[in-house]
């Protein structure tokens, strides 16, 4: 009954709004911690340059933060507006981490971000530092709860289907939040945010050093950022590997698509460095392989088998057949929740309920009891995500990750060896590195979410069933609306960001005296004493 175009438009809208939101989130996650680090140095050492650094980067943080908040609002409600069936089906589980995110993390982040911006003259040094730390902590807690929610979609743990209420219900809160997928992805994602912020700060600092502006601030910021960055990028790669390991066991279909492995091969299987997957023919037109490498890479053993797409589809077909009676029983239970026979039938087949749903879209009149062998074959083919995009998106993410590792290793070596501001070749590269982590983050999102297809909740609820029953016109209207608003937002944000960076620290006076550190410091002193004077007046 749900129109395929509506489902595709809903997916597109979710991808657009989520990817857009995720342009601002990583920088918030990382920059909040970098601010905390800089302010800590200020409070401990008492050097005013670090206060100036905190305020300068804090200003950029706030420009970015506003858009993160705005676009996050959309996400909080989009499940309800566009994914109504999904929301009713798993809201009992999925809603909880979102609500707790608001209660525990986002309240804290938003309340203290106000004090962080407005409280410089009202709070003691230590209090303000505490506020900055709470913002950093809260933004990361926020990511934790969102990824717990996402972890459930990737690997639905701690829940079971209740035929009385016709929905999934929470059975174990512990299993939900300590799901391997959620925890690994949380660390991977939040550290990816640290890398993003480190590259951003290093890039902008390099821009200043190239122009010999704000040298003191730029050099120190660069040093803090490269240390922070090298540690973080190593963490991201380690956790990414762990995520492949964890995700591989939970979602073999995602893994097989990422590696374009059409046939199950004897362990240790070869690794495709590059390939041209052709989904229709279920093969790679060409590929460059390294023998034996895939098995140890994915399973961390030499002999554990890695199932190929052929095997996954065969399994899916079996499960679809087993799931059909579960869906039939459910239909009876919907009007008559105490029907014993239907309940017994449901319980015997409930593990494959989701696979029964998978064939519903192909069965005549969406009645699974009428599903033919060819319907089942089609549904089984659906159980694999799009291999070509998975294969290349994943490789792009890994490549950008390795490039950032190389960048930070060089950055740290250069700053340790001496004055990085004299390595002009490196300073010229650094600003151009700023987009790279953003690309990596977006590719990571695509790998995780497109790789989960055809499922909204892996193995339980197909994406095509999850959408709201809107008309195509509504979906185009909302998509166009968001696209327009977000385009204007992006333009305004970029403009203000670039403008603030061009202007540099101590915004009001920097243009007239943008030469060297000492004059900046003198200006800051003047400003500070003006502020202190004001405070005295206030009291």
């Amino acid at each position: 009954m749900i129109n395929d175009t509506v489902v595709e438009l809903s997916r597109l809208q979710f991808a657009v709004t989520a990817l857009y939101h995720f342009l601002f989130v990583p920088l918030t996650l990382g920059l909040s911690f970098l601010l905390a680090v800089m302010e800590t140095i200020y409070v401990i050492s008492g050097k005013k340059i670090y206060r100036e650094m905190t305020q300068f980067w804090g200003n950029l943080f706030l420009i970015n933060f506003a858009l993160g908040v705005a676009t996050g609002l959309t996400m909080e409600f989009e499940f309800g507006t566009n994914w109504s069936f999904y929301s009713g089906f798993v809201g009992d589980i999925f809603g909880a981490p979102l609500a707790i995110e608001g209660l525990m993390a986002f309240f804290m982040e938003s309340t203290f971000v106000g004090l962080m911006a407005f409280g410089w003259n009202r709070l003691s040094k230590a209090q303000h530092l505490g506020v900055t730390y709470l913002v950093a902590l809260a933004s990361n807690l926020s990511a934790l709860w969102i990824l717990v929610a996402n972890g459930f979609m990737q690997s639905p743990e701690g829940a079971a289907f209740n035929p009385v209420t016709m929905r999934m219900e929470l059975t174990s809160f512990g299993a939900l939040i300590f799901s391997d997928d959620a925890q690994t992805k949380f660390v991977h994602t939040s550290i990816a945010g640290y890398v993003t912020a480190a590259i951003f700060v290093a890039g902008v600092s390099a821009y200043y050093m190239l122009r010999k502006r704000h040298m003191e601030l730029a050099k120190r910021s660069f040093r803090v950022a490269s240390l922070f960055g090298v540690l973080s990028v190593a963490g991201v790669i380690t956790l990414g590997d762990a995520l492949g390991f964890v995700g591989g066991s939970a979602q073999p279909s995602k893994l097989a698509a990422m590696e374009a492995m059409w046939k199950t091969e004897a362990a240790p299987a070869p690794f495709n460095v590059a390939a041209w997957p052709v989904q229709g023919e279920q093969r790679n037109a060409w590929s460059i392989q390294i023998p034996y490498v895939l098995t140890p890479l994915l399973t961390h053993t030499l002999d554990k088998p890695v199932p190929g797409i052929d095997q996954i589809e065969a399994d899916a077909a079996k499960r679809i057949r087993n799931g059909i009676p579960a869906v039939e029983a459910l239909r009876v239970l919907s009007g008559d929740p105490t029907n014993e026979a239907a309940l017994a039938q449901f319980n015997a087949h409930k593990d494959d309920l989701g696979y029964g749903f998978l064939v519903k879209r192909y069965a005549q009149g969406q009645d699974v009891s009428k599903a033919t062998d060819s319907d089942i074959a089609k549904a089984a083919k659906d159980s694999i995500p799009d291999v070509f995009s998975m294969f290349w998106v994943f490789r792009l993410m890994v490549a950008t990750g390795l490039a950032m590792l190389a960048y930070f290793v060089i950055a740290v070596l250069l700053s340790l060896r001496g004055d990085v501001s004299r390595q002009r070749w490196f300073l010229k590269i650094a600003p151009w590195m700023i987009p790279v982590p953003f690309i990596a983050c977006e590719m990571g999102w695509i790998t995780a979410e497109v790789g989960r297809q055809p499922w909204a909740v892996f193995g339980m609820l197909p994406t095509w069933m999850s959408a709201s029953s809107h008309s195509v016109g509504y979906m185009i209207f909302s998509l166009v609306g968001f696209a327009l608003i977000y385009t204007v937002f992006a333009a305004v944000e970029m403009y203000l960001m670039v403008r603030s960076i061009r202007k540099g620290p101590t915004s009001d006076h920097a243009d007239s005296a943008d030469t060297q550190g000492p004059s900046d410091a003198a200006m800051l002193d003047r400003e500070l004493s003006a502020l202190e004077h004001e405070m005295v007046k206030e009291q």
């Binding site: 309800g80 909880a96 979102l98 309340t111 407005f118 219900e169 029953s469 203000l496």
Partner: protein, 378 residues
């Protein structure tokens, strides 16, 4: 089962707390936004207004976000059905809401008067429209919304966008906006220095309060003449259930059933009247803090009246009344409610504590010269 019944009622109350918290805290900021151009005539006055709520709007807005999350967690079927059914209205709400963070953060970053004017208008619209939608949304619950489910609880909305903007709903929307203006006006009175701006804020707050009293009264009379919904038979409230297992009838004056059965409940609307009436007196006396708390009381009374009147209904269906959503059939499982109760008991007091601390730290008047000279000001 007894526990489940208790949890269901508790979460109905908490839903009320959430909607009240949202109305009080976000409504205040929305009121300031809606009044921005008429209370603040010069750029400096507008900056004073924005900086009065500057440190707090972000935290307050989380009430709105938490509203979405908590309804998702505790009343998933409401989250799913209401937000998809009221689609265009939700878009209107979201599109205006998402402009607000940028309005606050970006408005004063450039000195150009055109830039600032555009953002001022954006703030006015993003203050007024969400409050109207908020009230209209609640108002529509009295009239019922045309939706139904099929056997697997896929919901279908069969009305048009315009039917959601019926006269009663719009009146509720204006009531909600007027209370927001009351709160925004009171906030600006308290935070601005004596002068023309403070007088304008006082007039706006007074007007908001008077309009609210009038509309609340008209609303009560209107509802008494309206057909309400009544549960005919349904599974026991403490049982897990879907909306497919009950029957509902429409009856004249059914929205007063609960008041007739429990006359003590008349105290709830009385609370609303007391808040608004005494609030107006407090404004006259220039007691802004008191007026603020009385305004909060008014919100509690008004939203409480709607909740008590509708109970146990949350979202009645006008096209398929027997599939109406109630507290009993749209709520989460006992396990989820238990966990959510635990999180709320621990964190809600913490949230209230640091919110109060933030207001305490930033207390006092926002001075024009301070706004002009402070590089961190909006």
């Amino acid at each position: 089962m007894e526990l489940y019944f208790f949890l269901k009622v508790l979460w109905w109350l908490l839903l009320g707390v959430l909607l009240m918290g949202l109305a009080i805290m976000v409504g205040m900021d929305m009121g300031v936004g809606a009044l921005l151009r008429c209370v603040g005539r010069t750029d400096t006055e507008r900056r004073v207004a924005l900086n009065a709520i500057g440190p707090h709007w972000d935290g307050n807005q989380v009430w709105f976000i938490l509203g979405g999350g908590a309804i998702f967690a505790a009343f998933p079927l409401i989250y799913a059905t209401a937000f998809s059914g009221l689609y265009i209205v939700m878009l209107l709400l979201l599109w205006t809401m998402i402009v607000r963070p940028l309005g606050f953060e970006y408005r004063s970053k450039l000195a150009s008067p055109r830039w600032r004017n555009v953002w001022d208008w954006a703030l006015v619209v993003s203050g007024a429209v969400p409050m109207i939608v908020y009230g209209a949304g609640i108002g529509n619950m009295f009239r019922g919304v045309p939706f139904h489910f099929n056997w697997d609880l896929t919901s279908y909305y069969t009305g048009s966008f315009l039917s959601l903007l019926n006269p009663f709903a719009v009146m509720c929307g204006v009531l909600s906006l007027s209370l927001a203006c009351y709160m925004g006006g009171v906030m600006l009175m308290g935070r601005s220095e004596q002068g023309a701006m403070q007088n304008r804020a006082k007039r706006a707050a007074t007007l908001g309060g008077i309009v609210a009293v009038v509309l609340f009264t008209i609303g009560g009379v209107w509802v008494s003449q309206m057909q309400g919904y009544r549960l005919d038979h349904a599974p026991a409230p403490g049982l897990a259930q879907t909306p497919l297992l009950q029957s509902v009838v429409l009856a004249d004056g059914a929205w007063f059933d609960n008041f007739r059965a429990h006359p003590l409940l008349w105290l709830v609307p009385a609370l609303g009247y007391a808040g608004m009436a005494l609030g107006l007196v407090a404004i006259r006396a220039g007691r802004t803090t008191l007026a603020w708390w009385l305004g909060a009381l008014a919100w509690i009374g008004v939203i409480g009246t709607a909740g008590v009147s509708l109970f146990p209904f949350l979202m009645p269906s006008s096209s398929e009344p027997s599939q109406s959503l109630t507290v009993w059939n749209s709520i989460s499982s006992q396990t989820t409610l238990t966990w959510m109760t635990g999180w709320t008991v621990v964190f809600m007091p913490i949230v209230l504590a640091y919110t109060s601390w933030a207001f305490h730290v930033m207390r006092g008047k926002v001075r024009a010269d301070h706004v002009e000279s402070n590089p961190h000001a909006y």
